[in-house]
Every structure is written in structure tokens, then in C-alpha cells.
Symmetry: C2
Subunit: 156 residues, 2 copies
């Protein structure tokens, strides 16, 4: 299969997702060595999970398949340019490439507007529209100290 | 319980998470009307899921509990300032407030550096360190058209 075939697969998942009333019009797959190792579709409304975007679901499935929390040498094909949450997930998963079809401006036109989140991320924390505030009880950094001193920790 | 007690709970989850070798030193809870309705801990390494940050896990559990993909009137207490992926998840879930203990600079000192992801999000897509490229087969926007015309879709 070629790039265009993989992308068609992601798009057909997105399309099917609308027809089946599963969630938003988004699909994604993870490919390694020319094989699909993870499939994801937007399941926000059906599963009551605001984090269940197609890319997140595909990353989770592919990582489970690989028995690894990294997508080394993998490619993600997604029917739409990823939102900031999914881009964050992609950087944590570290695939080698991401291909997308629709753009975020096209998504905004049908009501999925990521621009607001990009703008919020760039604001100082005290200026964000959702209140974000530091609270520091005694020994608030104790978990970090324990992590530093742990001899059995799995770094990532 | 008061703010400080909820934060101590999130911190103690983070601490326990290191001791049990479950994942990174991070814990979070979701509170509604003074009650804990979701608990999350970093499970990246144990479950091979790079998206299993404490905040994401807590959001998922709380949404499932509420039977809603929105955390209306909820507060999130997290042992550390959320990363860009988790901030994205927070904006999609829309709680009323987020309280954190450790800062992202403290997290960076023990090897969890979100700064890189913030910088990547601000770059034009073609300049990002992970290759991101548009591929548009014929009818690539078909899922969006179907979504617009669907009479049974659940908007969110």
C-alpha cells in the first residue's frame, strides 16, 4: 500500500464514523513497515471521553500492539490536521511522520475550532479562560524527590 | 474537604505511583460538589500508553462517572502543572478550574520537559521536528460534508 491508500483508509474510517453516529468526522491509523498496527476513530460522544480523538485512539492501540510507549519508525495517517491535544500526544509517542488530509481551517468551518486552544496555550497561565492556579501544600514536591531517588524507575 | 486537602490527595497519588513503579510521579483528581469523581495517575510505562498522563486518566474516569463528555462545574487538582497535551484535554473537557502544585520548570529539572512541545506547537507545521505533511486524495473532505448534512449527529 502507498501513502494515498493509507490516507484513504483514514478518511473512510472518518466517514464511517459519522454514518454510525460514533462521534466526530475523524479517523486515523498508525502504520509500521507498511502495515496498519493501530486504528482510531473519534469516540468523544459515544464513550463520554473528551480525549478520545482519532489520533489518541490510534496511538493507544498501536502502542499496545507494539508493547511500547513509543511509536518509533511509525507513521500516523489522520483524516484531519491534529488538534493541540493530539499534537502533544504525538510528541510524547514520537512517530517518524504524520500525514493529514483536511486542515484545521476546514475543521473550524464545521465547528471544530482548535484555534482557541492554540491561543490559550500561548497565554500566561493566569490569563487563561479556565482558571489555573498553583496551590503548594507542605512537601508538594515529595513525589519528584522520590522519583529522583528511585533506583527502579522506568524513565521515559 | 478543602482545596489543600484535595491537593494533598493528588500529591499522595503521585507519590504512591513512584513507589509502586506504575509510571511517572504525577497524580490528579477531579472534584465536583466537594466530592472526588475521578482519580488518575501516570500510567505511561506500565500500560504502554503515552497518553496515560494523570490528568487525562482522571478526566476520562470522571466523564465516565458523569455520563458526559464535559466536566461542567468540576475542578481538577493535579500534582504538577499540565503538559500541552493535558491542557488540550482540559480545554476539550471544560472544567471550571485547574489547581496544580509543582510547576513545569520543576518537572523539567527531573527530566519531564514540556517546553519542547510548546515550542513545536508554535512552529509552522512544515518546520516541526516530526515531519507533518498534507496528503489530499480525491474527496478527502467527504467526512466533513457528511457531518454537515447529518441530521442525527451529536455536536460537541
Amino acid at each position: 500500500m502507498q501513502e494515498i491508500d493509507f490516507m484513504n483508509r483514514a478518511i473512510s474510517i472518518a466517514h464511517e464514523n459519522v454514518v454510525t453516529n460514533n462521534g466526530g468526522p475523524f479517523g486515523a491509523i498508525v502504520v509500521k513497515d507498511g502495515k496498519v498496527i493501530g486504528v482510531g476513530r473519534n469516540e468523544v460522544t459515544r464513550t463520554y471521553d473528551p480525549t478520545a480523538h482519532a489520533e489518541v485512539q490510534a496511538i493507544r492501540e498501536a502502542c499496545k500492539f507494539l508493547g511500547s510507549f513509543q511509536l518509533t519508525d511509525c507513521e500516523i495517517y489522520t483524516s484531519c490536521e491534529p488538534c493541540p491535544m493530539c499534537i502533544g500526544a504525538i510528541y510524547w509517542a514520537r512517530p517518524k511522520a504524520v500525514y493529514y488530509a483536511c486542515t484545521k481551517s476546514e475543521a473550524a468551518k464545521i465547528g471544530f475550532d482548535d484555534q482557541f486552544i492554540y491561543e490559550q496555550l500561548d497565554l500566561p497561565i493566569e490569563k487563561r479562560s479556565i482558571k489555573m492556579k498553583q496551590i503548594c501544600p507542605t512537601n508538594y514536591d515529595h513525589p519528584f524527590e522520590t522519583w529522583k531517588n528511585s533506583t527502579s524507575r522506568v524513565d521515559y
